[in-house]
């Protein structure tokens, strides 16, 4: 099992560790609800060193990325990032990732932990098969430390450690700056539905940066937060998780990624996706809340009038809303908000209602 440079710190903080895609990661330090609330009300600090970083550089990098990414990178300026998908020839989702434009021919892809190796193989194969030149693809995961600082007090906590001002950074902007005298990338982004930052520093310095952020933030209510809270936070915010909501048999239009699919350009999968868009999709990812008793979990069956029609992809008890929520694939004709469905929980069928995503939106101050 792989460990991040913060492993010993997690143990010292009393974290419970779990296997997440081959990585030994903290699921919680205190309790999921405690860490979830801290992130919504003050701030949470997450070890995301397990996520993948792939640098794509060279004069051919733009043309190459336009070919493999679903999102149009035209007009993107240095210091901006975008969410994009890697799709295969059938339009199936290989990964959902973010792309950072560091310079004219310098990009960074930040991938899910479990998909990184697969992405690398795919990217290198496309370079080879389609004869791209002037593209260098480098896996920099091991030498890159990554922390997510999320929550309304994140900016004030992080600013004390960062050389440049963060106040001008808008959502999905980033800067190359210094933290503790070391080169760092800081983006205003994250996976919780709160204001916050993703912070990239050299792997050997990530421990020290983790300590300093905790030191600066603890008096303001910051807590270290594990994958448990990360999952409830993202689900409330209506964000999808690769492996739950997405895999290679799922297309962007079936989930909530139509907006990240620019069919005006040609990319691998665009032809299949245009066709699908023309014909219409059959199943759709929807949000639901349970009106009956119980908590729906990943894999539970969804019923309409006694007939199985779909499956829950993610489900949990929402600490913010204090009710059971989730996402499920259902046929398009049953995906309208307000639709009543049933979800099988062990021997019972619990009533649920289709609701729009997200479940939670932060107040913009």
């Amino acid at each position: 099992m792989q460990r991040t440079p913060l492993y010993d710190r997690h143990l010292k903080l009393g974290a419970r560790m779990i296997d997440f895609g081959g990585w030994e990661m903290p699921v919680q330090y205190t309790t999921v609800i405690d860490e979830h609330r801290a992130t919504r009300e003050a701030a949470g600090l997450f070890d995301t060193c397990h996520m993948g970083e792939i640098d794509v550089t060279g004069p051919g990098s733009y043309a190459f990325l336009q070919r493999v990414l679903s999102r149009d990178l035209a007009g993107m300026t240095d210091g901006r990032m975008r969410l994009s998908l890697l799709t295969d020839h059938r339009g199936g989702i290989i990964d959902d990732l973010t792309v950072y434009r560091l310079g004219d021919d310098r990009y960074r892809l930040v991938t899910n932990a479990v998909t990184k190796d697969k992405d690398l193989i795919w990217l290198r194969r496309v370079v080879q098969q389609e004869g791209f030149s002037g593209v260098e693809i480098m896996d920099v995961t091991d030498r890159t430390g990554k922390l997510d600082l999320q929550g309304p007090r994140s900016a004030e906590i992080l600013q004390s450690l960062v050389a440049d001002s963060l106040s001008g950074l808008k959502f999905y902007d980033f800067i190359e700056t210094e933290i503790l005298g070391l080169g760092a990338v800081v983006s205003r982004s994250g996976y919780t539905g709160e204001d916050g930052f993703e912070v990239y520093v050299p792997a050997e310095a990530v421990g020290k940066v983790w300590d300093k952020i905790l030191e600066a933030g603890t008096p303001l209510g910051l807590k270290p937060a594990g994958l448990g809270a990360r999952d409830t936070l993202r689900l409330e915010a209506g964000m999808m998780l690769y492996g739950n909501e997405m895999n290679e048999s799922v297309t962007p239009f079936e989930v909530v990624y139509g907006w990240a699919t620019d069919l005006k350009k040609d990319f691998i999968g665009s032809e299949a996706l245009r066709k699908q868009k023309g014909q219409g999709i059959r199943r759709k990812l929807t949000g639901f809340e349970l009106t009956g008793r119980g908590i729906a979990r990943h894999g539970y069956a969804v019923f309409k009038n006694g007939r199985a029609i779909g499956e829950v992809t993610s489900g949990t008890f929402s600490p913010t809303l204090q009710k059971a929520i989730g996402m499920a694939f259902v046929p398009v004709e049953h995906s309208e908000p307000g639709t009543q469905v049933d979800i099988r929980i062990r021997d019972n069928r619990a009533e649920a209602r289709v609701v729009p995503l997200p479940f939670y939106k932060r107040k913009i101050v």
């Binding site: 699921v27 609800i33 405690d34 448990g228 008793r293 949990t316 008890f317």
Partner: protein, 132 residues
């Protein structure tokens, strides 16, 4: 740290307790160790009154934010009462697993089955053996 395991009841290796009420019934729940492992209990599925259970069979389900866990009946018998308060206050199990957080009462088919369970001292050493 988990609370001390009270000496007035017996324990299963699956972390349930059974308190003999002296009238042919027992009260059951999960141990403080178990609630500590589960953390934030947010849902409890209680058995129906009159449900027949066998020793070691599922009698209830407790869920934390992340996990779903079966609770096994420490004895065979019939469910005669459930702690309905848990439907709205599942966190009572976290707060007081050995008291207010009880789950069900069972009329025993065979009080002799209680001998299959551990006493408090044996359960405490069992927890040490498994590393806690």
């Amino acid at each position: 740290m988990a609370k001390e395991n009270p000496a007035d009841r017996r324990y299963s290796r699956e972390h349930e307790w059974a308190k003999d009420n002296g009238d042919g019934t027992i009260t059951t729940g999960i141990t403080d160790y178990a609630q500590e492992m589960l953390t934030d209990i947010v849902y409890v599925e209680l058995p129906a009154l009159g449900k027949k259970v066998r020793q070691g069979e599922t009698i209830a389900v407790v869920e934390s934010v992340k996990s779903v866990s079966d609770v096994y009946s420490p004895v065979s018998g019939e469910v005669i009462d459930v702690n309905g308060v848990l439907e709205n206050k599942p966190e009572l199990i976290n707060q007081d697993a050995f008291g207010e957080g009880w789950i069900a009462k069972v009329r025993m088919d065979d009080p002799g089955e209680l001998k299959n369970l551990l006493d408090a001292a044996a359960y405490t050493s069992f927890l040490q053996e498994i590393g806690h």
